[in-house]
Symmetry: C2
Subunit: 246 residues, 2 copies
């Protein structure tokens, strides 16, 4: 039987968005394995597979070989209940930035119930606004304000280290949320957008920032499975009622 901490770490997914350098993918795989993580997902890697990735992975070739390649962050987050984005700078964010220790604690609490993703951006540009909007929490590694640019593999190493340390030293209360799979949440957003167009509240020719604002609202509250069902039922009823008018 596996120890509890191993089950928790097995439910952590590392997602690298649009990594430019294959060496960093290998370094991330090695960093993960040293700390007992194994789920690596790559969104549009520039070069992969690649000899540089294999060289930097060293003894973590198995993590690299089982890495999944996706075409979008949405696809990468399917099956997850929580996505924590990583940021190296304080932007115009309306969300509080967690420390690595806080992020590890929250992630492992929820990892008792489902898969939790840590999302890392491109080496030069970080996470895009759209990628950040798909995360329900944000984390930053406190760094030297004069030079805060951690290498991608080094950032994964620090986060993986905190996860292992937290998994081995803390006990976690059951999560107080029966969080919906992020793929269900995405389907809800599609439904919501269609319904708002149908009832004339959203003009697809001039959508403004309506959907991003609604995304932010629902990211903050975190939707439960049952709530998704209620909301989609409401949207369906709204659409039927609208159709009924004609």
């Amino acid at each position: 039987m596996q120890a509890q901490y191993q089950n928790l770490l097995a439910n952590i997914r590392i997602v690298l968005c649009r990594p430019s350098h294959p060496g960093n993918i290998g370094a991330a795989a090695r960093a993960m394995k040293t700390m007992g993580l194994s789920q690596l997902v790559l969104v549009e890697p520039k070069k992969f597979p690649h000899a540089d990735a294999e060289a930097m992975a060293s003894g973590a070739a198995d993590v690299l070989e089982s890495a999944r390649v996706c075409e979008s962050l949405e696809e990468a987050l399917s099956g997850c209940v929580l996505a924590i984005g990583t940021s190296t700078r304080q932007r115009d964010l309306q969300t509080a930035l967690l420390t690595p220790a806080e992020a590890a604690s929250q992630a492992l609490t929820e990892a008792q119930a489902g898969t939790v993703a840590f999302v890392f951006g491109n080496e030069t540009f970080g996470l895009s606004r759209e990628e950040l909007a798909r995360c329900q929490a944000l984390m930053t590694i406190p760094a030297n304000p004069e030079y805060s640019s951690l290498n991608l593999g080094a950032a994964v190493q620090v986060m993986a280290y905190e996860l292992r340390r937290s998994a081995l030293s803390e006990t976690f209360a059951q999560p107080d949320l029966d969080a919906a799979d992020l793929a269900e949440v995405e389907r809800f957003y599609v439904h919501l957008e269609q319904a708002m167009i149908r009832i004339g509240f959203l003009n697809p020719a001039s959508p403004k920032r309506l959907m991003p604002k609604l995304r932010r609202l629902f990211s903050r509250t975190r939707l439960q499975k049952e709530e998704i069902n209620i909301l989609r039922g409401m949207l369906s009823a709204m659409e039927s009622s609208k159709n009924g008018e004609h």
Copy 2:
């Protein structure tokens, strides 16, 4: 005026012993700068300076340029009051292994009074027995027992991260020890060995493990400046007395 935590971090020295890959030297420099460290010392680097080091250092070229190259660990530790060795495996060590957080706390307490070194070994072989014997404390990064081999740059990143976190969040009592400079301690060992040969207690043709055992004893107690003076006075008196016999 610099903040207190910056003064403490300025007193931390990262020593890399016989690094094989110049890329790792650059990665270590970058890891250090992101966390506010600046003192890098290299003992017998295989290739340095090197383009790979510069490439991996990225925006930390200044740390790389000011790195000091030494011919021995002894030389690298000159001016330090404490050397903490890093180990990736539990060997036949008689010393307790500190966690990174414990090591950071001890290092920053003593960094109020002098320079503290973290000593990292070669990528493949780690620290040699002789190098370990020159450290007064040992630290390990808790890792996956099935694959505990952190990349050198990644290990420096984790330790530097812990140092910054600790420096920013803890307050440190004044060190309770007026520790001697490790260069003075080395001169004491030379004196001790000569004196023991002179009095016929140590046979240079068959020294056995006498000096390593005495080193371990004095490493454990940590010698103060005044104690070094007393011990060396005693050794001198012993030698004069011996000379007086003839």
